[in-house]
C-alpha cells in the first residue's frame, strides 16, 4: 500500500471581509496517496482553489492539520514553505502563470535554477521536457508568442521539471479547447504513470473528472463525495 502524500485533519479556512467572517472550508479530512491521479470538483465557491492553496503552502489553514509527506506544514516558517514549494510541489495554474520575460526554456529551467542545479543539467532537463510536452522548436519563444495550450504545456513542463512528488493543478484545462484539454490530460496521465507523480487538480469539466482515478466533490467547503468518478452522479 502506498504512503499518503497529503493528509488533512479537520482543516478549516475563513476569510475576514471587513467585520464579517466568511467560512470557506469546514473541517476537511482527506488523505491522498502517492501516485494517485485525483480530480477535485465542485461548484464555484466550494473551496477548491482555497484547498489547493493550503495544500501547496501558498495559504494557511485557519485550523486543523495539513501534512505533506508526513510533515505538518502549518508549523513551517515562510522560508521552509518556500523550500517545500521549490523542492516537493509542482504547480500548474489556471492562467498558466508563466514568467512573461522568460522564454519557454527559461521558464522550465527556472525552478531547477532555484534548486541550484548546474546550468547544463537544467538546460538538458528542460529541453527534454519541452520535447516531451510537444514543444520542440518552441523553446526560445516567449509566453506571449505561444498559444494558450502551448503555454499550459510549458507550465506542465515547469511543474514536473524538479520531479516533485506532488503536482497541484488549478483548473489546468479551463482556458484551452477540448482537443487541447484532451492532449494535456493525456500528458498528465502519462507523467503520472511514468514518473509516479501524484496529481491533484481542480476542475469544472466533466470530461476531465471522468479521466481521473478518484474524484473529490466539494460542496460549501466540505467533502460531499470521495470515490470513483464513474460512481458519481453530477448534480
Amino acid at each position: 500500500m502506498s504512503s499518503p502524500v497529503i493528509q488533512l485533519h479537520q482543516v478549516t479556512k475563513s476569510y475576514q471581509l471587513g467585520e464579517l467572517e466568511v467560512p470557506a472550508l469546514h473541517g476537511i479530512d482527506l488523505n491522498i496517496n502517492a501516485g494517485e491521479f485525483v480530480a477535485m470538483a465542485g461548484p464555484s465557491g466550494s473551496g477548491k482553489t482555497t484547498l489547493l492553496n493550503i495544500i501547496g503552502a501558498l495559504d494557511d489553514a485557519s485550523s486543523g492539520k495539513v501534512l505533506v509527506n508526513n510533515e505538518d506544514i502549518s508549523l513551517f516558517s515562510a522560508g521552509k514553505k518556500s523550500q517545500l514549494r521549490r523542492m516537493q510541489i509542482g504547480y500548474i495554474f489556471q492562467h498558466y502563470n508563466l514568467i512573461p520575460v522568460l522564454t519557454a526554456l527559461e521558464n522550465t529551467e527556472y525552478v531547477l535554477m532555484l534548486q541550484g542545479r548546474a546550468k547544463q543539467e537544467r538546460h538538458d532537463i528542460a529541453m527534454q521536457l519541452l520535447a516531451q510536452v510537444g514543444l520542440q522548436g518552441k523553446e526560445h519563444h516567449l509566453p506571449s508568442q505561444l498559444s494558450g495550450g502551448q503555454q499550459q504545456r510549458v507550465a506542465i513542463a515547469r511543474a514536473i521539471a524538479p520531479e516533485p512528488k506532488l503536482i497541484l493543478a488549478d483548473e489546468p484545462t479551463a482556458n484551452v479547447d477540448s482537443h487541447t484539454a484532451e492532449g494535456l490530460l493525456d500528458l498528465m496521465e502519462q507523467l503520472n504513470k511514468d514518473k509516479g507523480c501524484t496529481f491533484l487538480f481542480s476542475t469544472h469539466d466533466t470530461a476531465v473528472m471522468r479521466r481521473s482515478h478518484r474524484l473529490i466533490w466539494l460542496k460549501d467547503g466540505a467533502v460531499d463525495y470521495d470515490g470513483e468518478p464513474l460512481g458519481f452522479a453530477l448534480p
Binding site: L58, S82, Y91, I99, E106
Partner: protein, 406 residues
C-alpha cells in the same frame, strides 16, 4: 549569484519599455544635475577669472605697510627679483603705481586716482586693456596718453583724442602738472573704478609725480588652475620683506561670496537630487506594481523572499547604472556647448556688476571631471536606495493575493 545577476539582467533587458522609462528618468535627472553643477561651477569660476584676470590678478605684492596707509612713499624697494621669480613660475607680473590728484578738461574738473602701468605687461597678462568703450589702450611707449574710467569721462564730457590736464602733488612736494591726450575710455568695470581711474604709462606717471621709479604694487596673473598658495610661498622666499597676498586674502568678502555661491548651489543640487530620487522611487514603485502578478508567480513556485529582494535590487542597480551612464554621456556635449557658447543673461539682468566686480553677461558652464563622476554616482546610489522600498514590498508579497489581485 551568477544566475541571479543573469536573471536580473534578462528582466532589465527584455522589459525594454519599463527599463527605458525608469532609466530615462534617472538619465534626465543626471543630465539636469550635471548641467546645474557645470553651470554653477562655470558661474563661480568665470566670475573669479573675470575678476582676477581683468586687473586684480591672482596675487599681489606690496611693501609691507602699503595697504594700511596707501602712503605714496611706501613703495616696493626692489621689484626686479620678485618680478623675475614670478616669470619663472609662469605668472605675468604687472608693476603699478598709484597716486591722487585733479583732472580737468574744458571747464570741468574732477578728482582722479592715477594708475601708472606698464602697457606691455598689462596687455600680456590682463584683460582690462581690451575692455574698451571707446578709443584704444595707451601705447607701449610713453606718449602722454591717458585712459579714463567711463563715469569720469562722462563727468568731464571728454572723448578719445581730447586733452586732459592733470594736477597733482609730486613726490618732492612740488605741484606736478601735465597735459595728456585721452587715448581711450574703459567700458564699465565697477563704480569706484569707473568714477576715478586715470591710467597712464608708468613713465608718464613718473614724470607727473616725480616718482623716481616708485612701484606700489605688482599684480601677478596666471592660468585659472595656478596653485596660488605654492606660488605665494615661492614669491615670499624671494622677497620676504614684501606682503604677498592671494586674491582671496585681498578680497575676503568676494572670496566668501564665491564660497557661499558654491554652497547655495550644492544645497540646491541636494534638494534637486532628492526630488529626482523621489521621481525615481515613484517610477520604480510603478514598475514593481505592474509586475506584482509576476512576482506572485515567482514566489508561488518557490522563490525565496531574499532572492526576490536581491533580484529586484539588482534590477534597480542595472537600471540606475544604465540611466546614470546614459545621463553622463548625454550631459557631456551639452556641457561642452554651454562652456563654448553659454547663455546670454544680459537681457534679464539690469546690472552686471556685483560688489564692483563686472560679471560676464554670458553665463558659461565649466567642464570638470568632478560632476561627471559625482553626479552619476550619487544618482546611482539614490536610485538604488529608492529601489529598496519596492524590493521590500515585493519580497513581502503574499503570492496568492498577488496572483489573484494583479
Amino acid at each position: 549569484m551568477t544566475d541571479l545577476i543573469r536573471l536580473a539582467w534578462l528582466n532589465t533587458y527584455r522589459q525594454k519599455q519599463r527599463t527605458a522609462i525608469t532609466a530615462g528618468t534617472i538619465a534626465l535627472c543626471t543630465v539636469l544635475l550635471i548641467l546645474l553643477f557645470a553651470l554653477s561651477q562655470g558661474f563661480v569660476t568665470h566670475s573669479i577669472e573675470n575678476f582676477t584676470a581683468s586687473f586684480t590678478g591672482k596675487l599681489q605684492a606690496h611693501s609691507d605697510d602699503y595697504r594700511e596707509t596707501y602712503d605714496f612713499y611706501t613703495a616696493i624697494d626692489a621689484p626686479q627679483p620678485v618680478i623675475q621669480a614670478a616669470q619663472q613660475l609662469g605668472l605675468t607680473p604687472a608693476p603699478r603705481s598709484y597716486g591722487f590728484g585733479l583732472v580737468a578738461a574744458g571747464n570741468k574738473s574732477a578728482g582722479g586716482m592715477f594708475v601708472g602701468v606698464d602697457p606691455q605687461a598689462e596687455l600680456a597678462g590682463f584683460r582690462l586693456p581690451g575692455h574698451m568703450q571707446a578709443g584704444q589702450f595707451i601705447a607701449t611707449q610713453a606718449q602722454g596718453q591717458a585712459m579714463l574710467g567711463s563715469l569720469l569721462a562722462l563727468n568731464l564730457d571728454v572723448q578719445p583724442g581730447d586733452e586732459l590736464i592733470a594736477l597733482v602733488q609730486a613726490a618732492d612736494g612740488s605741484m606736478g602738472n601735465m597735459l595728456f591726450t585721452i587715448s581711450g575710455i574703459f567700458a564699465p568695470v565697477g563704480d569706484e573704478f569707473d568714477r576715478s581711474t586715470v591710467m597712464l604709462h608708468l613713465q608718464d606717471y613718473d614724470d607727473l609725480f616725480y616718482a623716481q621709479g616708485r612701484i606700489h604694487e605688482i599684480s601677478f596673473n596666471g592660468p585659472a588652475d595656478t596653485d596660488l598658495l605654492a606660488a605665494k610661498s615661492a614669491l615670499i622666499k624671494v622677497a620676504p620683506e614684501l606682503e604677498i597676498m592671494t586674491w582671496q586674502e585681498l578680497y575676503v568678502t568676494l572670496a566668501l561670496m564665491a564660497e557661499m555661491m558654491t554652497s547655495y548651489m550644492l544645497v540646491f543640487a541636494v534638494i534637486f537630487g532628492l526630488g529626482a530620487a523621489i521621481g525615481v522611487l515613484n517610477t520604480l514603485l510603478m514598475a514593481s506594481y505592474e509586475r506584482l502578478h509576476e512576482y506572485g508567480i515567482m514566489k508561488a513556485i518557490g522563490t525565496t523572499s531574499v532572492r526576490l529582494f536581491a533580484g529586484t535590487m539588482l534590477e534597480g542597480l542595472f537600471i540606475s547604472l544604465l540611466g546614470s551612464v546614459i545621463g553622463g554621456i548625454i550631459a557631456l556635449p551639452l556641457v561642452l556647448w554651454l562652456q563654448d557658447t553659454g547663455i546670454d543673461i544680459s537681457q534679464w539682468m539690469e546690472s552686471m556688476n556685483v560688489m564692483g566686480v563686472a560679471f560676464d553677461p554670458v553665463w558659461r558652464a565649466h567642464l570638470t571631471l568632478e560632476p561627471f563622476i559625482m553626479v552619476p554616482s550619487v544618482m546611482a546610489v539614490l536610485s538604488l536606495l529608492a529601489a529598496v522600498y519596492p524590493a521590500l514590498l515585493v519580497s513581502r508579497l503574499n503570492p496568492t493575493e498577488a496572483m489573484r489581485e494583479h
